[in-house]
Amino acid sequence: MRITDNTRLIAILRNNEWSATRLSEASRHASAGAKVLAPSDDAAAYTTSARRGSTVANLSSRTRIARSAADELGVAERALDSATELLAEAKTLAIQGANETMSPNDRKALAMRVAGIRDQILELANTRGAGGYVFGGTRTDVPPFSPTGAFGGNDTETRIPVTDGVAPRKNVSGAKAFTAAGGTDVFAELNNLANALTTSNVTAIRTGIDTMQASHDQVVAIQVDAGLSMERLRSSADVLEAAGLTVAQSRSRDIGADDLAGMATELAAASSSYSQSLTVTKKLLSLPSLAQQG
C-alpha cells in the first residue's frame, strides 16, 4: 500500500489516543485504589459489588442495632440486679423482724427501712433507657409503675431481628418482674411486710420471709432472661460484624481493591507505553523528508 505522510499520522494519532486512554484509566484506578469504579469498568463485577455493598450496609446496620439493644438491655439488667440486692436485704430485715426478742419499736425501724426499699425498687422499676421506660412493655412514654406500685404498662414483647430466624427480645418484662403476672406482686408484698413489721405481726412477718424470697427469685429469673437476651444480641452482633468483614473483603476483591500491586504495575506499564508512543511519534515526525533537503 502506498504510504503518505497522513497515513503515518493517522496511525500515530490512533496509537497515541489508545495509549493516553490506557494511561488515564490506569491513573484513575490507581488513585482510587480500585479497578472497578463505575459499571462500565466491569459490569458484572460492579453488579456483584453493589449487591455486596448493600449486604455490608445491612450487616453493619444490624450489628450496630444489636449492640445498642444489648446496651439498652444492660440498663434493665443492672436495674434488676439492684432490685434483687434490695429484695435480699428486705428478706434479711424480715428474718430479723421475725425474731421474737425484737421490740415493737425496733420492728418499726425495720418497717421504715422496708418502705425505703420499696421506694427504691419502685424507682428502679421506672428506670429510663435511651428508648424510654424499660419495664413498661410498649408503653415507653410514661412511668410503668405508679407511686402505689400499680402497673400501667403492658407485657408486649419487642424484638430485634439480627439474623434470619434469630430475633432476641429487646425489652424486659416489668410485669413479670414486679407484678402478680410473674407470680408475686413485689410492691404489694413489700407493703405487706412493712405493715407486718409496723404492727409487730410475727406470723405475717414470717410469711414475708417467704414472699421476699419468692420476689427475689422472680426478679432474678427475669434478670437472667435479660442477661441471656443481652448475650444473644452481643454474640449475634459479633457474628454479624465478622460476616460484614468477610463480605466487605469479598467486595474489595470484586472491585480489585485488593490488588494494589496489580494497579501499580498497570500504571507503570501504561506510563511506559505512553512514553514509548510519544517517542515513536517524535521519531516519525522527525523522519527525514525530501522537503528538508533544500
Binding site: M1, R2, I3, T4, D5, N6, T7, I10, A11, R14, E17, L37, A38, P39, S40, D41, D42, A43, A44, Y46, T47, T48, A50, R51, G53, S54, T55, A57, N58, S61, R62, R64, I65, S68, A69, E72, A130, G131, G132, G136, G137, T138, R139, T140, D141, N154, T156, T158, R159, I160, P161, A167, K170, N171, S289, L290, A291, Q293
Partner: protein
C-alpha cells in the same frame, strides 16, 4: 530559420507544460493536509508539433475507498453520538457515591434505628429525611435522564439543520461541476468540495452518492433520495405523540417519515440513545421506584404512628409504573410529621411497639413487589447501564479502527506524499530548466545568425 523558430516553440511549450505541472505539484503540497483533498496528477503529453503540453490534471480518486470511508464515517458518527450520550447517562445514574442503592441502604438503616427506640423523635425524623433523600435520588435521576433526552432532541434538530445546510450548499457546487463538465472542463476543486459535503452529510444522517452521466450526483440517505438533479430534500425534525424523535423528509412538498430508515450517522446514534437506550433505563428505574414504594407502603399503611392513627403511606403511591421514579416523594400525610411514621403494629403498642419498623427494615433483605431486593434491583439497573456503556464504547472503538483503516486506504490512493511531490517538483523543475536552456540556446543561435548577417 524555420527550424529555430520551431525549436523556440518547443521550448516555450516545455516551459508552459512544466510550469503548469509545477503548479499542480504546488497545489498538492498545499492541499496535503486539507480534509477531502484528492491528490492531482499532471498528465504531460506530446503535441502534434513534437512539443509537450499538460493535457489533463487527473484526480487520484478511488470510488471504492471513498465509499468505504463515507460509510464507515457515518457508522463511527452514530457510535460516537450514542457512546457520548450513554457515557453521560452512566455518570448521572450511577454516581461514585450517594447513588440510589446507597440511599435505599440509608433508609433501611434509619428504619433499623427506628426499631430500637420507636418513640425517638430523632429516629423518626431520620426515617423521613432518608425517605425524602431516596425519593429525590429517583426523581433527580429520572429528571436527569429526561433532560438528556431533551438535550439530545435539541442536538438532533441542530444536526438536521446542518444536513439541510449542506444539501443546500451542494446545489451550487453540483451545478458548477455539471456546467464545467458541459464546457469540457475539469472541476477538480469543486468535486473535492462536493465529496467533502457528501462525507459530512453521511456523518450526520448516512449517505451514499451515485454519479450521474452529466457529472452531477444523486445522494441516497435516510431511506430516501436526499439530493438529485440539483434538487435537495429538506429534513424536518419533530417529536411524535409518544415524545420520540421524528425525522421527515420534505421532497417537493411531500412529507415522508424516514425516522426508522436512519441507521447510520450522528442522527442514528442520537435516536438510539434518546428513544431506545434511555427509555429502557427509565422503564427499569420506574419499575424499581414503584416496586420499592409499593413494598414500603404495603407495610407502612398497616402500622400506627405516635398519634395512634394508621393507613398512611410513606411514599405517595403512583398509579402507574410509567413516571413512578419522577413522581416519587414522601407522602404529604407524613411529610414534616415524624410522629406519623408508623413503627407499631397496633394502636395499643404505641409508642414502644416496633413490629412495623422491623418489617420495614427487613425489606432490605426481602424481594420487593417485583423481584429482587432493593440492593439487587439497583445492582441490576447499574449493570444494565454498565453493559450499555461497555457495548457502546466498544462499538465506538471498533468504528474508530475501521475509519482509521478506511482513511489509510483512501490516503493510499488519494493522499499526498510530500516526498513524492518533492520528486515531482525536481522532475518538473529540471524539465522547466532544460526548456529554458533550449530557449537560451536558440536565442544564442539567433544572435550568431544576426552577427553573420551584419
Amino acid at each position: 530559420m524555420g527550424g529555430l523558430f520551431s525549436l523556440m516553440s518547443l521550448a516555450r511549450d516545455g516551459i508552459a507544460a512544466h510550469s503548469a505541472a509545477l503548479h499542480v505539484t504546488g497545489q498538492n503540497v498545499a492541499g496535503a493536509n486539507t480534509p477531502g483533498y484528492v491528490k492531482r496528477t499532471a498528465t504531460l503529453s506530446s503535441t502534434v508539433g513534437g512539443g509537450v503540453e499538460m493535457s489533463a490534471v487527473a484526480r487520484n480518486f478511488d470510488r471504492f475507498t471513498y465509499s468505504q470511508l463515507v460509510d464507515q464515517s457515518g457508522r463511527l458518527a452514530a457510535a460516537t453520538a450514542r457512546a457520548t450520550a450513554i457515557s453521560d447517562v452512566e455518570v448521572l445514574a450511577t454516581p461514585a457515591s450517594d447513588h440510589i442503592g446507597d440511599r435505599a441502604d440509608a433508609l433501611f438503616d434509619a428504619l433499623h434505628e427506628l426499631a430500637l427506640p420507636p418513640s425517638s423523635d430523632s429516629a423518626r425524623a431520620s426515617v423521613l429525611a432518608r425517605a425524602a433523600w431516596l425519593a429525590a435520588g429517583f426523581s433527580e435521576t429520572a429528571d436527569g435522564l429526561d433532560a438528556f433526552r431533551t438535550e439530545l432532541g435539541t442536538r438532533a434538530s441542530e444536526v438536521v439543520g446542518e444536513v439541510n445546510d449542506r444539501l443546500a450548499s451542494l446545489v451550487m457546487v453540483d451545478e458548477g461541476i455539471v456546467a464545467a463538465r458541459a464546457r469540457g472542463e475539469q472541476a477538480n476543486d469543486l468535486i473535492d468540495t462536493r465529496d467533502r459535503l457528501v462525507k459530512e452529510i453521511a456523518e450526520r444522517v448516512g449517505a451514499r452518492a451515485i454519479d450521474a452521466p452529466n457529472g452531477g450526483i444523486t445522494i441516497f440517505g435516510a431511506g430516501t433520495v436526499l439530493y438529485e438533479a440539483r434538487k435537495p430534500t429538506t429534513l424536518v425534525s419533530s417529536l411524535d405523540i409518544g415524545g420520540s424523535l421524528r425525522i421527515q423528509s420534505n421532497r417537493e412538498g411531500v412529507l415522508t417519515d424516514v425516522t426508522k430508515a436512519i441507521d447510520t450517522g450522528t442522527l442514528a446514534g442520537i435516536r438510539q440513545a434518546r428513544d431506545v437506550d434511555i427509555p429502557g433505563l427509565l422503564d427499569s428505574l420506574d419499575a424499581f421506584a414503584k416496586d420499592l414504594a409499593d413494598s414500603v407502603n404495603a407495610i407502612h399503611t398497616t402500622g400506627f404512628g405516635l398519634d395512634g392513627n394508621s393507613g398512611r403511606p410513606l411514599f405517595t403511591p403512583s398509579a402507574t409504573v410509567k413516571g413512578a421514579a419522577h413522581a416519587m416523594e414522601v407522602d404529604l400525610s407524613v411529610r414534616d410529621h415524624p410522629e406519623r411514621v408508623a413503627a407499631a403494629g397496633a394502636a395499643a403498642d404505641v409508642p414502644g411497639g416496633n413490629d412495623i419498623a422491623v418489617k420495614l427494615s427487613d425489606l432490605a433483605r426481602a424481594p420487593l413487589a417485583g423481584t429482587g431486593t432493593a440492593g439487587e434491583r439497583f445492582a441490576a439497573f447499574a449493570g444494565k447501564v454498565g453493559v450499555l456503556r461497555t457495548v457502546t464504547r466498544s462499538d465506538e472503538e471498533m468504528r474508530k479502527d475501521t475509519v482509521a483503516t478506511a482513511t489509510s486506504l483512501r490516503e493510499g490512493t488519494s493522499g499526498v506524499s510530500t516526498d513524492e511531490e518533492m520528486i515531482q517538483l525536481q522532475q518538473f523543475q529540471r524539465g522547466f530548466e532544460a526548456s529554458t536552456r533550449v530557449l537560451r540556446t536558440v536565442d544564442s543561435l539567433f544572435d550568431s545568425i544576426f552577427q553573420l548577417v551584419r
